[in-house]
Amino acid sequence: MPDTHTPLLDIQGLEIRFNTDSGIVHAVNGLNLSLQKGKSLGLVGETGAGKTTTALAVLQLIQSPPGQITGGKIFFEGRDIMGMTESEKRRVRGNRIAMIFQDPMTSLNPIMTVEEQIMEMISLHSDMSGERVRERALEMLKLVGIRPERAKEYPHQFSGGMRQRVGIAIALACRPSLLIADEPTTALDVTIQAQVLDLIRNLQKIVNTSLLLITHDLGVVAEVCDDVAIMYAGRIVEYSNIRSLYRKPMHPYTRGLFNAVPKLESELGVKLAVIQGLMPDPTDLPKGCSFSPRCPYARDICMEKACGMKEWEPGHFVDCYFPLQNGGRTE
């Protein structure tokens, strides 16, 4: 057992590139991130920020070519994942680290019953007898709220929310110590999303797994996570426990993100604050801080050299020379 001070997952200086016809895409640029055992971390960013690429790197599933991890280290339970042999990696994938995907329609096998799909995962990673594997699969279905009489049905017979439950059952079947959920509720309706988030929250406690939740929705993170990391153009720009970050977003990008979200309780008739411009082209990242071309507070130094993560307040890290000091909201 690793001691409690070693993070469960520790990503250091991760760099990922993709060679494409239009140039080298710098998808992840010097990303540092760690996740403690039993905690849940929200990884938030817009399309193209590199969230999913980071998750795939943790599972060592970056397709190469065109992708390539060009730098950094990923430690899982204290071991360097990138240094593992292929068979060691296979023992980690699905067993110790499991993943739930965004689209429950396409991530399940359409010609296998849901029971078989759960059993497949269990028998791959254990030497239990067939009967025991089946029992375990039925237990998993019960755990995610699917009646056992539906075990022999196929994915197309389930609704979107139920399919995502199946995905969760498969992911948790081997009791992984890390669950990566990549936009698990984005394809679902809001009432179904509430059901699935509720389920994930409860199961995280029961199965005692850590959670890396990838999403673009700050509301979903607020419901589920302990800590949150904001990602922009392939790196983390702000990291803190959730309360501190939501009370006081310090990076100008984080602040802009919060201001751009319409809220149920906001005043009527007030215009949304908009971050000017677009995400930088990942084949041609700006020099210095990658947010500087859009940042209303950028000064000369920002265009020259990125600041790097600094602990501005205890446990609250911001990658900015001039973090915003007054709170994100008018109290």
Partner: protein
């Protein structure tokens, strides 16, 4: 922005609208007896989950698909009964912006061609030069840089593509625009830009919008009035502020409570609905929400409630609407 004054001029008046589809398994009740009105210059937000019939409703009122029954009065005339001439005129007055700016634009047409298309079809310009001028004017209105005029959709990001969609809808200076999930495919920063654009346009030109969305926060942001749909029917309709402050239908209450709040300390009563939306093919008898409703009584599965005015301007379709206030 406090709802709609009684007696205001109705630009659109939908009465008892039905749209059924014949599908292999039976008859799909996509829109089932919906009545709604939108006064000139106002925005009606239409919310509901996938499959509730909100997009079908939007398409029927714009004349893209035919209704099964009912009436849709546009400026006092029933557009469902229009002859061809009247219909082609109506189509210059009413426009639609679609959800997906990736599939709703012809990939082989340039920005110029895309925006000029409605102008050319309706021959509103007398010369090539006038078309060019109008295209540039429209691009400026929606915030597209002129240098993009020769670009193709695949070269542009989602926000810019959606701006082309808006420019196409505005080309004939319509009075009424159906916005069918116009920001659902966009990231929050781009979403904010498009929402601001739509708001500005409405303010400047007095457009009337039917804003269809599954996102309650977005609807709350843009609407004067909000109608909530469930399985082809409107279950609640009232002024924006009233709906969000005091939802009376149990479905609306559950829907609102399910929205994740961007505040880790927000402690709110969450109503988690059981199960999924039933099939719109042979919907359950009685109240369609009854099978999932936490307050259901015997009467609910026997008798379909009608949309009735519980308070001035607040319409709810529930037998017990008055007694379920505040989510309890």
């Amino acid at each position: 922005m406090n709802g709609i004054a009684p007696g205001a001029e109705m630009l659109l008046d939908i009465r008892g609208l039905k749209k059924y589809f014949n599908v292999p398994k039976g008859v799909l009740h996509a829109v089932d007896d919906v009545s709604l009105t939108i006064p000139k210059g106002k925005t009606l937000g239409l919310v509901g989950e996938s499959g509730c019939g909100k997009s079908t409703l939007g398409r029927v009122v714009i004349g893209l698909i035919e209704a099964t029954a009912g009436e849709v009065f546009f400026k006092g005339e029933d557009m469902l009964k229009f002859n061809d001439t009247q219909r082609s005129h109506f189509r210059t007055r009413a426009q639609i912006v679609f959800q997906d700016p990736f599939s709703s634009l012809n990939p082989r047409m340039s920005v110029h061609q895309l925006i000029a298309e409605p102008l050319l079809i309706n021959s509103v310009c007398s010369s090539r030069k006038e078309v060019d001028g109008k295209v540039k004017e429209l691009m400026e209105t929606v915030g597209l840089a002129e240098r993009l005029i020769t670009s193709f959709p695949h070269e542009l990001d989602g926000g810019r593509r959606q701006r082309i969609g808006v420019a196409r809808a505005l080309a004939l200076d319509p009075e009424f625009i159906v916005l069918d999930e116009p920001v659902s495919a966009l990231d929050v920063c781009i979403q904010a830009q498009i929402l601001n654009l739509l708001g500005d346009l409405r303010k400047e030109r007095g457009y009337t919008y039917l804003f269809i969305s599954h996102n309650l926060s977005v609807v709350r942001y843009v609407s004067d009035e909000v109608a909530v749909m469930y399985l082809g029917q409107v279950v609640e309709k009232t002024a924006n502020t009233t709906l969000f402050r005091k939802p009376l239908h149990p479905y609306t209450q559950a829907l609102l409570s399910a929205v994740p709040v961007v505040d880790p300390d927000a402690k709110k009563e969450r109503i988690i609905l059981e199960g999924d939306v039933p099939s719109p093919i042979a919907p359950p008898p009685g109240c369609r929400f009854a099978p999932r409703c936490i307050y259901r009584q015997e009467r609910c599965s026997a008798e379909n409630p009608v949309l009735s005015e519980i308070e001035p301007g607040h319409f709810v379709s529930c037998h017990f609407a008055g007694s379920l206030q505040g989510g309890k």
